[in-house]
Symmetry: C2
Subunit: 223 residues, 2 copies
DNA sequence: TAATCATTCAAGCGTTGAATTGAATGATAG
DNA sequence: CTATCATTCAATTCAACGCTTGAATGATTA
């Protein structure tokens, strides 16, 4: 062995960190947190070319963050386990707590307003049972279809304006999206609050909700 | 803003991951987990040149993983908070659970023997109160001096052979070192078990012990 | 104020990683 | 068995990183 075992170990740990060190790969992981996907679907969602996407996925696989299986002609990737999700989340927490730049970007999303504290998933579950809350799923329709919080209404950011009149000014609104990396919910809350509505963001997104073992509704897919 | 806020956020998260993606920086973090240190001390311990060390430290600071303060002429670095430690630990857990290569390296340290499960810190605390265990601190003397588990004997790997006769064959022995990244305890346990002694490794190291709020003994430093 | 010394900056060089293009692989369907 | 198609590999280009050397900074101390 040319290097000491100590360095060899550190290099393995560094390999995992390196896999997380490119925005494109974090974006892929966010998609995979929604559920398993094929290479082409991932390339579409992230805007990468298929070849480039495939290479990034292989780096993630080398770091054991994702695994793959073959389904006919397609290769389907998925997160190896919940640890991958934990790692992404901790990365975000460290960045948000300590990096002024992150604060600045998030503030920009809210047009300078102070965003309210997010609603915890426990809270939302209670409110849902009471029926005292409107839940908005801000993700693209296909992701909504493949699984969403029961009772949530699917709407895109672009259509939000048109939906405003249908919302009662007093009702509490909770918006969610893919997860902590996704900014749709941030933007939705900012837009709703600008119109004087009582909107808050859900802590985490659908993957975290599912990870908690809470109910997820899947639309019968017409395909 | 040239990039979308989404990408900008992901880039910030990636910055944190990138800071963790070099073995040299993981090594620095391991040292800092022991306690705050100056640049020169860190350079000595890690074998880096001072200038190189300084640059790595600045990358860690940019990622908000460490912070620094000035003490006279010296600049003292320390981990920003316990999250940094959590992040390092999760990195290790993912690597150990999923990377065959890590398994292989660790097995090499034990000369192919199966290593026993590590002792939890709770267990050790109980055994220490009973006095039914011998604790070995495998770190360099200066690190032992700056803080160790009460009752632990400090010994280097090199001196372990000479210490063998002083150990009762029946007594349980627990070895620890800097923390999960440190391999001294692994090696010590392997050596002791080869001689038929009942040795186990402590889960985590001194930083984790201290983080639990457990007692740490500091030698009156003669300086 | 000037000297001192730990630390940091700046420039240069070799290496590594990201994205692109085009070809090769390998499993299925006919 | 051959054609097909999603995926992966290989080779290239360009940018960023890591390490070294030597100079600059900036807070103490005399």
């Amino acid at each position: 062995m040319s290097t000491s075992p100590k360095t060899a170990l550190l290099e393995e740990y560094a390999l995992v960190a390196r896999a997380l060190s490119a925005p494109a790969r974090l974006s892929l992981l966010e998609q995979l947190a929604q559920g398993e996907r094929g290479v082409e679907a991932l390339a579409d969602k992230t805007g990468l070319t298929v070849a480039n996407c495939s290479q990034h996925l292989q780096q993630l696989r080398r770091a054991a963050l994702v695994t793959s299986r073959r389904d006919g002609k397609a290769v389907i990737y998925r997160l190896t386990d919940a640890r991958t999700l934990e790692l992404m989340d901790l990365l975000r927490i460290v960045a948000e707590r300590n990096l002024a730049q992150v604060e600045h970007i998030l503030r920009g999303l809210s047009n300078g307003q102070d965003a309210p504290e997010p609603v915890t998933r426990d809270d939302l579950a209670v409110r849902l049972a009471e029926g005292s809350v409107t839940v908005l799923d801000m993700r693209p329709a296909d992701e909504y279809a493949s699984g969403h919080i029961p009772g949530a209404r699917n709407i895109t950011l672009a259509d939000l304006e048109r939906m405003l009149p249908t919302l009662e000014p007093g009702t509490e609104i909770v918006a969610y999206c893919r997860g902590p990396y996704c900014i749709y919910a941030h933007q939705a809350v900012a837009a709703l609050r600008k119109h004087g509505l009582n909107a808050k963001r859900l802590e985490g997104g659908l993957p975290e909700w599912r990870e908690d073992g809470r109910p997820v509704l899947t639309e019968a897919s017409p395909e």
